[in-house]
Symmetry: C2
Subunit: 429 residues, 2 copies
Amino acid sequence: MNILIKNVHVITGDANNIYIGINNIAIKDDLIYYIGKKIPENFIPNKVIEGKESIAMPGLVNAHTHTMMVLMRNSADDLTLENWLHKNILPKEKNITRDIVKSGTMLGIAEMIKSGTTCFLDMYYEMDVVAKAVLDSGMRANLSYGLMTCNQWQKGHEYAKAFCKDFHNEYNLANDGKLKTSVEAHSVYLCDETMLRANATLARELNSSIHIHLHETKFEVEESIIKTGLTPIKQCLKTGVFDVPVIAAHTIWVDDDDMMILKEKNVTSVHNPSSNLKLASGIARVPDMLDLDINVAIGTDGAASNNMVDMFNEMRLASLIHKGSTLDPTVVNAATTIQMATYNGAKALGFENLGLLKEGMKADLILVDTSCLNNIPLNNPASAIVYSSQGSNVDTVICNGDILMEHRELLTIDEEKTIYEARNAAKKL
Amino acid sequence: MNILIKNVHVITGDANNIYIGINNIAIKDDLIYYIGKKIPENFIPNKVIEGKESIAMPGLVNAHTHTMMVLMRNSADDLTLENWLHKNILPKEKNITRDIVKSGTMLGIAEMIKSGTTCFLDMYYEMDVVAKAVLDSGMRANLSYGLMTCNQWQKGHEYAKAFCKDFHNEYNLANDGKLKTSVEAHSVYLCDETMLRANATLARELNSSIHIHLHETKFEVEESIIKTGLTPIKQCLKTGVFDVPVIAAHTIWVDDDDMMILKEKNVTSVHNPSSNLKLASGIARVPDMLDLDINVAIGTDGAASNNMVDMFNEMRLASLIHKGSTLDPTVVNAATTIQMATYNGAKALGFENLGLLKEGMKADLILVDTSCLNNIPLNNPASAIVYSSQGSNVDTVICNGDILMEHRELLTIDEEKTIYEARNAAKKL
């Protein structure tokens, strides 16, 4: 389908050239065909969107989440990690069924689309169920499956490996390339050296990236050093995990040596500010990582520790928190934050030609309303996106050239049914 | 008017008893007449609201703002304080006219109502213009006028004093008591000892409270010690400022001595987390203040440093930031945060019978939608308010028994006209 968006403020996703003024955007099938002041000759749009009161920007990339956990939001707050995990989350997870994962994932996907996310990286159980929900929704996603997931490992290494390969073969590059798969190595505290090596080997064989939790808590790092003499990052280095592309969630308690390893091995750090604050994990050294040109992306983490999956919250918080904690108001500026939440995430998740509004890129973009009270006056559009907009200001969401939401109405998901099923599923946890 | 809200989740505003289940709320004129499972006999409602998919809670109290500054949002971000203030904000403020203040204030009031605020404390220029906007809107507010404001002081002490007294006489307790006035003593860095004493005397004469910026930056405290040998808080103690009720914005860089003075003199500390982070002022010692039973309220500060006036943002941030910076996930829990944003603010602003959903209290309350994706499943309503709700989820706003917003439509403000006038006013800055 050809879509023409007229007279829209354009935020590019490239921090060095974040705002390029009011333009027309022509979309041809799944690609951005033209951005400029004119309308290309011979471009016959099937649909024209008047962008006058909107900002167009790349769809947001939620680079670390456990989507299904929206079902556990507001159920375990203001608790120590011990109480949160062992007395609340794990007991609930014992009740999980494939139907519950399906309902929760669809609820989370609906919330993500409504708040401007077009692409996400997911790690949970029953990932084939997650994959089917993603296919139904029309979103783009990278889904992580690992040797430990669903206890396949306990059935033997070869069984687990075959299981992961089947998942990869079925879903990697499915749906016009909108789906990708990656290998989950949950964390160094749950994966011993053998398991880390096995996941690394699997990722190499599948030409996949690895998705891992890394240096989330001070305790995790200290425990690893006591047990192995190495920080988790150094364990990953030793076991070959970093010889494939790695998407590492959190990376909070990193010393300078650890950080240089992330840099040298091109590891992406995913910053999850709401979750890191809420669980009192700590405040990541994001300004230092940006200074080193480490690829930093942004994620919501699961809603059990957020309690939303709204990337606008995370952008605002990612930009504010480091100014306050370093006492430097110039760090993590609006343009950088937008790039982290779009292009850096797309790159981390292994999608090519994604995350920028630029001719030839994939047509994943959102329109943010600037006629709402909180965006008046608009002044600087990049500032407006990070500091004065909310997920609820997203009017239209386009993914791979398809419209997923128009004027806040979901087109690929039955919102009422999703809510009904999610409420029922939540009761079973 | 009699209003009956049926079957609504009730959040009280009292941290010790924050959620009291699903109830009916009967409002008679300006007061909460009944909360309970029944409907009072002989109560004939003029209006019935079905609360089934809502949480009712006290209207939010924005305890420190400069409302008009919404006109400067997104205009000066990611800058050093020097660049922000001297190269951006002050030059804009030179262009201010009474018409610009009027348009900006009305825009800010509209944004506050739409995000659930029913009462605020304001400090700016041309406060009589602000007062008229508040009267038109039907909101509750405490408006601060001081001897320095609008350079009246330069015309002589007696002239300035008469000016302030006139303002007080005209607006204090106006509009059925919905307006109050207080004395502005901007800050210790702008008020010398004579001015502090004069403002304290004026406040005593008028039986008013004082509204002041205090210990916002490290530099402010260090400079005060160099100049006077005293911290700003100790200067206030010495000059009699603390002999009247004081609402002190920020109070970030306080040592234990300063904190004990705040405690002993019953000073309210207003926490402004977005602004404090964004300007890199620092992170206030809120958990310590709460431990000492200091009255801590919450404010948005002006939108030039926020960039919104949405108290839902501030509640979420107030709760998250201290968990992350103290590494204790149990501090500033959801119930405490709600009390800070409602009852503690009402108490600070000098309004009696305000800030709690309880029989006999003023009928300032809001209904928050729980049928939106981000509040499903609801699980814990107090958590939902702080961690998963947004200003845009506020459906209905009632102030003093009058409906200011219903199903997100403003009833006392012409939203379209407000936006039109604000956009024009912003161009003149």
